[in-house]
């Protein structure tokens, strides 16, 4: 039984085999009655299927007229599609703008803080109000309570500074990058899907 070509008979019957495989099946069929009978049954089945008629449908012109009455005006579709497309391409632009804004804001904050430390913005610092300068730092409190001192306190202050300032900035930028990568992945998936011959959202 292992030499039978049953699994290739359908493809052979449909004329889909070529080359070595075709010769292999032909050679086998010349010798094997069982496979030949199987092939005959495929032929019989195909002829049987052809006996089922299709009904008489309405004339193509009349059908087309009926369809024409039901299809919506193209302009609406186009404009909606255009809005969607514009919105779609605005996503990465928006993300990029957000990233630039956040980066600039943090850079400006750093510059202002540095200038304030150097005493260059003594007048403006009041106008800017309190903020980080007056913020209650947990590490400072712990130091004042005598729970930590020396290197330990320095580490705690550094960790707190990182958590309060650098970490949010890092998380924000990573989030933006992840969103951008998601957008690229969706764009790629859509593009690939269309490449296969498209369809169908509906």
């Amino acid at each position: 039984m292992s030499n039978h070509v049953t699994e290739w008979l359908n493809a052979y019957f449909d004329g889909e085999l070529t080359g070595k495989r075709l010769h292999q099946v032909e050679d086998h069929l010349a010798e094997c009655e069982a496979c030949q009978a199987e092939l005959d049954s495929l032929q019989g089945l195909s002829e049987l299927l052809q006996e089922v008629p299709v009904p008489e449908f309405t004339a193509a012109e009349r059908f087309a007229a009926q369809v024409n009455l039901r299809i919506p005006h193209k302009r609406v579709v186009i404009s909606r599609k255009r809005i969607f497309e514009v919105g779609w391409w605005m996503i990465p632009v928006g993300l990029l703008a957000l990233w630039i804004f956040i980066g600039t804001a943090f850079a400006l904050g750093d510059i202002l803080a540095a200038a304030g430390n150097l005493g260059l913005l003594s007048g403006i610092s009041e106008w800017l109000g309190s903020g980080p300068a007056n913020a209650i730092y947990l590490s400072t409190t712990i130091g004042q309570m005598g729970l930590l001192s020396g290197n330990g306190l320095n580490w705690a202050e550094a960790a707190e500074t990182f958590t309060r300032i650098s970490l949010p900035q890092f998380i924000l930028q990573v989030s933006i990058a992840v969103l951008y990568l998601c957008w690229i992945a969706i764009w790629w998936a859509r593009h690939t899907h269309q490449g296969h011959g498209q369809l169908l959202e509906g």
């Binding site: 299809i71 193209k74 011959g197």
Partner: protein
């Protein structure tokens, strides 16, 4: 003019019609509907076995095609693209109709379609049995079978139309034919061979 030239001319005409339809020309789209109406309705009818459902689903197919025409790429076959929409429309329609089709699947007993060894079927009875057997196939297998047997599409064309791998086309077709042979029974096939002799 030979058939190859005629086919090329038709393809060029169709490309031009698609281009015009994409620009919103309804008349061009109507011409495309005329060209493909019969094929689409035939395919859907083979899928659902009901002429009225086939008409309705075919209309839905062309409406969807009109709405999504901008996503159609002329490098691919319009017929295959339409057939894919048609299968989706047919499946949706069958789901809406809850698969209760007149003269179709109810009182279907295909496991033993022959009452006795001496039974001889009339042409009409045989056609009904075959139709019911086709309708009893799983949707995915039936779609492949319809495209191969009735539309005479190649495996590659079927794969493109249904957006499935070539191997899946082969396995579904093998399975569909195996089920049909089991359900229709060898006697019916033999009787048919005898009729032909």
């Amino acid at each position: 003019m030979d058939s190859l030239t005629a086919a090329r001319m038709t393809a060029i005409d169709e490309t031009e019609l698609v281009h015009r339809a994409k620009n919103g020309e309804r008349n061009a789209f109507s011409e495309l509907v005329c060209i493909h109406a019969q094929g689409v309705r035939n395919v859907i009818y083979r899928m659902c076995g009901d002429a009225q459902i086939a008409e309705d689903a075919a209309q839905e197919t062309f409406i969807q095609a009109w709405l999504h025409l901008s996503s159609y790429r002329p490098q691919t076959s319009l017929r295959n693209w339409l057939y894919r929409i048609a299968f989706n429309a047919a499946t949706d329609m069958l789901r809406k109709e809850q698969r209760i089709l007149p003269n179709a699947l109810e009182d279907l007993q295909l496991s033993d379609p022959l009452p006795g060894p001496e039974a001889v079927f009339s042409q009409e009875e045989r056609t009904t049995l075959v139709k019911k057997a086709i309708l009893s196939l799983p949707d995915a297998c039936r779609a492949v079978l319809v495209l191969r047997e009735y539309e005479e599409m190649s495996y590659h064309e079927i794969a493109e139309a249904l957006d499935i791998p070539l191997g899946t086309v082969m396995s579904r077709l093998n399975y569909a034919r195996k089920l049909l042979k089991e359900r229709l029974g060898r006697k019916l096939l033999i009787q048919m061979e005898v009729d032909h002799v």
